[in-house]
């Protein structure tokens, strides 16, 4: 059964401007993230990619002086409506950061279960199943299944990052935000995460920030190019990389600046 047409417009920003105090670092950006696609955000350092991403799960407002104008629509509903509880919202939108951030006092198991437990208590068996499922989807299960009770710090950097992916997946979010998830990983670790994205996109809508243009080309369906807070160009990935319409995009992807 095909989903109704508008169900595919899962996440969308409408004239989103993000500010720190009086300084706008993301300006008037409107993007539509179709359901079950990967969208890559690229652009030179400091152009506002992280800030934009953090607006999508209302993390930006937790920064000192952070506020926005415009809208972010999830299923057509503005997540910045006064009636929306930001804490509840963040349980529906998973996020993975540039550096692995496992909770150091928790075991591998408890790390993955953290996002589940926070959302009300549920039967033990259900948590077990969710933890295993999330670890499998993050391609980590086979490596850790015998030591779930060990400290999360016993894992390698790449494993820790996949643990963070699993932790984000366990509560079954609808959207997954990734901020340079492979920046601190070696090529093997990077490859694991990229393979992961291909599988995950059948279930989640993914937005990934990356500095690695090849990575953007490999993993994404759509690519957006940011420059100085503006969304310069957005299009299907193969088109943007082969036939960019703006000269700034072309200059960036051919390595002439940034």
């Amino acid at each position: 059964m095909a989903p109704p047409a508008d169900a595919r417009l899962q996440l969308e920003t409408a004239r989103l401007t993000a500010l720190y105090g009086r300084r706008a670092v993301v300006k008037d950006v409107s993007i539509l993230f179709p359901t079950h696609t990967v969208t890559a955000l690229i652009g030179p350092s400091g152009c506002g990619k992280t800030t934009f991403l953090r607006c999508l799960n209302r993390m930006h407002e937790l920064s000192e002086g952070g506020w926005i104008t415009g809208k972010v629509l999830l299923h057509g509903e503005d997540i910045y409506d006064p009636g929306v509880d930001a804490v509840q919202l963040r349980r529906r939108i998973g996020m993975v950061f540039q550096r692995p951030t496992p909770f150091p006092t928790m075991s591998i198991y408890d790390n993955v279960a953290a996002g589940l437990r926070v959302n009300g208590s549920r039967p033990r068996a259900q948590i077990d199943a969710a933890v295993e499922g999330a670890l499998r989807r993050a391609a980590l299960w086979d490596e850790v299944k015998d030591r779930l009770r060990h400290s999360a710090l016993d894992l390698s950097g790449g494993q820790q990052q996949r643990l963070c992916v699993a932790r984000a997946l366990a509560p079954e979010p609808e959207v997954l935000l990734l901020d340079e998830p492979t920046a601190s990983l070696d090529p093997t670790g990077t490859q694991r995460i990229e393979e992961l994205l291909h599988e995950l996109k059948t279930r989640y809508t993914i937005v990934i920030v990356t500095h690695n243009l090849q990575q953007a080309a490999r993993v994404s369906d759509y690519t957006g190019f940011f420059y100085l807070g503006d969304l310069v160009e957005l299009g299907r990935t193969e088109e943007l990389f082969t036939k960019p319409t703006k000269h700034q995009t072309e200059a960036y992807i051919t390595g002439r600046f940034g």
Binding site: N57, M59, L62, V87, Q88, L89, R90, R91, G94, M95, F97, R99, T101, F103, P104, T105, A114, G115, V118, N119, S151, L153, C164, R167, A168, P171
Partner: protein
């Protein structure tokens, strides 16, 4: 060039020696104190020293069981009152203390930290002993708690601030509310450090004498009643050491040894707590 180099080496050498000598003096002082205590006090340590109460002046024998129990009770009271307040204040300062109120609390804590303990004792006397009409272990516990709170608040704050910001963000992004992030993630990550702060704080007040002179007063008999005067090791030492009898002096040395041992054990425990938990975390 070579003059400069010579000078640099000279200064470096002098400083290294100086620092070395100073640390040697510090360690030496501790060793001398410990050695002296053992020499003077160890011989009086026997079973009855720990199990018997003091006997009237002139008689020999007896022990300081009442003071040991009293120390445990009063320090326990102080911990019961002081730890939650101190840790809570520290958490507040670290997590929400960026505004004016935070600044004020921090300032008050710093001033209190530098306040002589005898002054705290006088305040405890004015506000507790006087209105209640009599000296009490409770007043002593409160006085010691008042010494502990500012110290703990500042240690807790520092330990919590050491927790990386990224950890806090990770929890918030997972849908943790702010208070839950503070307690479940931040405070737990800082727990070993906070625990160490607690042990050091307890060790420090365990040996306090001045604030207890006006509050717990001391008691020659065995008492576990917190609303009555109570003996502690530090008070016992004070009385025995300033008394006229050799027997008392002997007992004072032994009591001092016990107190010192207690503080040492706490300090070692603090070390151990810090190492065993933090080795991996940082």
């Amino acid at each position: 060039m070579s003059v400069r180099r010579l000078r640099r080496r000279l200064v470096s050498g002098t400083m290294t020696t100086l620092v070395g000598v100073l640390s040697f003096v510090a360690v030496l002082a501790l060793l001398l104190i410990l050695g002296h205590l053992v020499a003077k006090g160890a011989s009086s340590l026997d079973w009855s020293f720990f199990t018997k109460n003091p006997v009237p002046a002139g008689e020999s024998g007896g022990g300081v069981a009442n003071a040991i129990v009293g120390t445990a009770i009063i320090v326990g009271l102080a911990a019961l009152i002081g730890l939650p307040i101190g840790i809570g204040t520290g958490l507040y300062l670290a997590e929400y203390g960026s505004g004016r109120l935070g600044w004020t609390v921090r300032f008050v804590a710093d001033v209190l930290n530098g306040t002589p303990s005898i002054v705290i004792g006088i305040f405890a006397w004015t506000w507790l002993v006087k209105p209640m009409g009599h000296f009490s272990a409770l007043a002593g516990g409160v006085a010691l708690a008042a010494l502990m709170v500012p110290m703990l608040a500042r240690t807790t704050e520092e330990m919590v601030r050491l927790v990386p910001h990224s950890l806090r963000e990770a929890a918030l992004a997972l849908g943790y509310a702010r208070w839950r992030t503070s307690l479940r993630i931040v405070a737990r990550t800082a727990l070993a450090g906070i625990l160490t702060g607690c042990l050091v704080g307890i060790a420090r007040v365990a040996g306090e004498t001045a604030p207890l002179l006006f509050t717990a007063l001391g008691n020659l008999n065995f008492s576990t009643h917190v609303l009555e005067p109570m003996q502690t090791l530090s008070l016992q030492i004070y009385v025995y050491a300033t008394g006229p009898f050799d027997e008392w002096h002997r007992m004072a040395w032994a009591a001092a040894l016990v107190l010192m041992g207690l503080v040492l054990i706490l300090a070692l425990a603090a070390r151990w707590a810090l190492r065993s938990r933090y080795g991996a975390a940082r």
